[in-house]
Point group: C3
Chain length 153, copies 3
């Protein structure tokens, strides 16, 4: 059986999609898949925060609708960029983050919350979505050691 | 035969170089190499945009010439940072992005455009450089499953 | 013997921790580990800079203490964000970057400085910490080809 091991270290909406898409695709192919959420990536499995991940309009000149930095820094522009990205994703019929997480759990994708960085990020056990299990870097390396594909996102 | 499988997810000039350098190096060593361009990374194989990828002077305190954020946010500073980075790369005789893409095609590096995120990024088939082929995450995982080294950039 | 091959491409404090934690964990498990520092990541093994890596308060909406962009861009806010992150890490008893580097050298973790990008980043041989060895992408790929886990951070 093939295995995919991912680290998800980003807590933005655009940073959350690649590991979720890859894990869902792998599970659909019958692979075993696991995601180790660490640092900002822990927000993706945070009970409340995963529903309001944001896109920054700043410091990403590759945003399809690019704004001059001073404009992008104005209050409310983060919400605008996030709403645009959500609309583009919806138009492509991409599931929402919460739907991806449901699919992941249903298809047996392992969701590991990094024990070392939970404290750094101020995240408690009860903040995590159901199905997430707390694990250390050792457990992740053990899992990844037997993976066919390992990637840090 | 060794194989390198990369995901290129960033659409900045500094984000484009690592996958291009790694793929060109691998091809030079006789490896099979493939890059899966997704999200912002699709700009690297966009017919027009790949010639004007930019560097953001914001939110990267490790830029060799670091500017205070308020100064870095001024109009024109993105162009200044990009010009500086291009000059540093030229001084090291690093090829330009377009030259790397030529080399990649000549040495048989596979250039996959992520079908799922092309729509999200508003990129059409005719926007892609010659030689790029549209593929899904499934095709990429198939390719990566037999790779010796897989990395997400 | 298991082997971990990492690329460290980020020069921020929050970007430095994941490769250092993973390499230290791997070494603790008896794995062979190597980190290839490239582009901004070279700052992590820069004699002076590794002690003052910073966190950007901009363009990361997932920062636990999130600030509106215009406020985050004010002079001094980068220092504030960095001090906060250092405090959170200290509270979790995470070693400092310099301590991680000491541990890495003591446990035989290979520290490769990317020869191609040292010039781009304006870093000379004498800027590197003791124990770092200069290597090209070819040497890294050779090392990674036999790794059980390879990741680009």
């Amino acid at each position: 059986m093939r295995r995919l091991a991912l680290v998800a270290s980003k807590g933005t909406l655009d940073g959350a999609y690649p590991p979720l898409i890859l894990a869902a695709t792998a599970a659909g192919l019958g692979w075993e898949a696991g995601i180790f959420f660490t640092f900002y990536g822990l927000d993706i499995i945070h009970r409340k925060k995963h529903r309001r991940l944001k896109v920054s309009p700043l410091a990403n000149p590759a945003m399809p609708v690019s704004l001059p930095p001073l404009l992008a820094a104005l209050p409310g522009m983060e919400a605008v960029a996030t709403a645009m990205m959500r609309r583009w994703m919806k138009a492509q019929r991409l599931p929402e983050v919460s739907e991806f997480l449901d699919m992941a759990r249903e298809s047996g994708v392992k969701l590991f919350a990094c024990s070392t960085t939970m404290g750094v990020m101020g995240i408690e056990r009860e903040d995590l979505i159901e199905g997430a299990e707390i694990a250390g870097a050792t457990a992740f390396l053990d899992f990844a050691a037997n993976a066919d594909v390992s990637m840090f996102v």
